[in-house]
């Protein structure tokens, strides 16, 4: 069983849970079994929160929390000083951070020796969506870095997920965000 566990860090109101679900839904389209869930507990606007995604080619028979993620995605760079984002992440893992800084600088700051990628997801979101919501951009970067889902399925999942909640224009802006993030994150 090749179970992949992803942890998403952000703040309440930044679409962290949505990102965890979106990525799961894209992985489902590839025929995987999935789970997505938020950190368990009350959520306050602006407070640090986590969400999780599990992806597995065989049925997932586990309902406990995630302790040793394979991948960590940080949506909000202001968390880096206060939240231990690499907790439980091995050096064979992957860390993606939304920041204008380069990967080396962040690696030194966090003392993390595994694969680390940075992208300015907030800037991308401002250019495409017009609001600093980094969730879909980070998901786009994860598509490229992890190779876990195809871009086509990511696009399909995005359309499906936001169809009812967002205007057509906003859905397209999110798709554009994902594409841009995919292109900009260098592997």
């Amino acid at each position: 069983m090749d179970l992949i566990e992803i942890r998403w860090h952000g703040r309440g109101g930044q679409g962290v849970v949505t990102a965890s679900e979106l990525f799961a839904e894209a992985a489902m389209q590839d025929g995987n079994y999935i789970q997505a869930f938020p950190e368990f507990g009350p959520e306050r606007m602006g407070a640090p929160i986590k969400a999780f995604t599990r992806i597995c080619p065989t049925p997932i028979t586990i309902h406990s929390q995630v302790y040793t993620p394979n991948i960590v995605v940080v949506l909000d760079p202001t968390l880096l000083g206060s939240v231990d984002v690499t907790q439980g992440l091995g050096t064979d893992g992957i860390l993606i951070v939304n920041t204008p800084k380069d990967a080396k600088e962040i690696a030194t700051m966090l003392g993390y020796a595994g694969r680390l990628y940075t992208l300015d997801a907030t800037k991308i979101a401002l250019e495409t969506i017009g609001r600093p919501v980094a969730n879909t951009a980070c998901a786009g970067a994860l598509v490229k870095v992890s190779g876990l889902v195809s871009m086509d399925n990511m696009m399909a999942a995005t359309k499906e997920k936001f169809r009812e909640k967002l205007s057509e224009k906003a859905v397209l802006a999110n798709i554009e965000t994902i594409r841009k993030a995919y292109e900009e994150v260098s592997v």
């Binding site: 109101g13 009350p42 306050r44 602006g46 407070a47």
Partner: protein, 302 residues
């Protein structure tokens, strides 16, 4: 310069409310008015989370967390026991609950407590929905508002019934003192709190406490929005002492702002059409005229 707000701080820094939370201001001001000899009871609501997670607390007065529907009964118990133990003198017992805990699930216990005449102060901070559970409608949610249980959708199913008038319900209980207050007018709020402290018998305060998370406006606009609520006469400030009405923030006709200024600031009203906005305007005008008449007919003798 003379200070208009007491220095004493009974709510410390380090609370867990969202940025710009009106309810956080409301508690801070209330305690400045009630003073340190206060025992508080708080039911399920945002304020059951705001003080902090065990073993931390931002509160410098004794506090019992109580079940959602029980605030009125719980403060009755505290007050009766203080009397039984000869310790009531000089101690203020306050119940502090949200609009849901007051106007909905807790109205039975509240009605019982004030009707029995306990010497308790009941304060409702009103953010016009169930915020702790994530923005569901309450009977304090105004007509026209979006909430997650009045989600508008394709069928325009915003909140259709009007806001329940809790102060009038309290006045109908013939209690010594009932009032409204707002976080935009702290001096007025504190004065009313001090007045409640000095009255023996049940008192009720209804505080307007904007919620950026639930109303969908930027957190820095809380005070501006609260002021606008009063300046539009959507939330007038007044008090009823032994049945006598007194408006404590008079809004002159020419200074009265249009409800649209208020509605436009908040995402929760963004779907409203002209017809709905006009009916809100009419309703506010009607209620304001009614309040003016009450003051005229049942005001304190000039």
């Amino acid at each position: 310069m003379k200070k208009t707000i007491p220095d004493i701080e009974l709510m410390e820094r380090g609370h867990q409310a969202c940025l710009g939370c009106g309810a956080a201001h409301a508690m801070r001001y209330l305690l400045k008015g009630l003073g340190p000899k206060t025992i508080a009871a708080i039911p399920a609501c945002c304020w059951a989370v705001i003080p902090g997670v065990y073993p931390y607390s931002c509160m410098d007065v004794p506090l019992q967390y109580v079940a959602f529907e029980t605030t009125g009964a719980s403060i009755s118990g505290i007050e009766a026991a203080l009397r039984a133990k000869g310790k009531k003198e000089g101690t203020t017992v306050v119940g502090w609950a949200g609009d849901g805990g007051t106007l909905d699930i807790g109205i039975q216990a509240l009605s019982g407590a004030v009707e029995r005449g306990h010497d308790v102060k009941y304060v409702c901070y009103d953010n016009e929905a169930y915020m702790n559970t994530g923005i569901q409608r309450s009977s304090a949610t105004p007509f026209g508002a979006w909430t997650t249980t009045t989600p508008v959708g394709t069928t325009k199913a915003w909140k259709l019934s009007p806001k329940k008038n809790i102060v009038e319900i309290m006045v109908a209980h013939d209690i010594p003192y009932a009032c409204t207050a707002s976080v935009a007018y702290p001096e007025d709020l504190i004065k009313k709190a001090q007045k409640m402290k000095d009255i023996t018998g049940p008192c009720f305060m209804h505080i307007y406490a904007p919620c950026p998370t639930g109303w969908k406006y930027p957190p820095e606009k809380t005070i501006e929005l609260a002021r606008l609520a009063t300046d539009t006469c959507i939330f007038p400030l007044y008090e009823v002492t032994n049945g006598k009405y007194r408006i404590t923030k008079r809004i002159k006709d020419e200074k009265k702002k249009d409800v649209l200024d208020y509605l436009r600031m908040q995402g929760r009203f963004k779907s409203l059409d002209e017809g709905a906005i006009q009916s809100i305007r009419d309703h506010v005008d009607f209620e304001w005229a009614r309040l003016l008449r009450k003051e005229e007919c049942f005001g304190e003798e000039q």
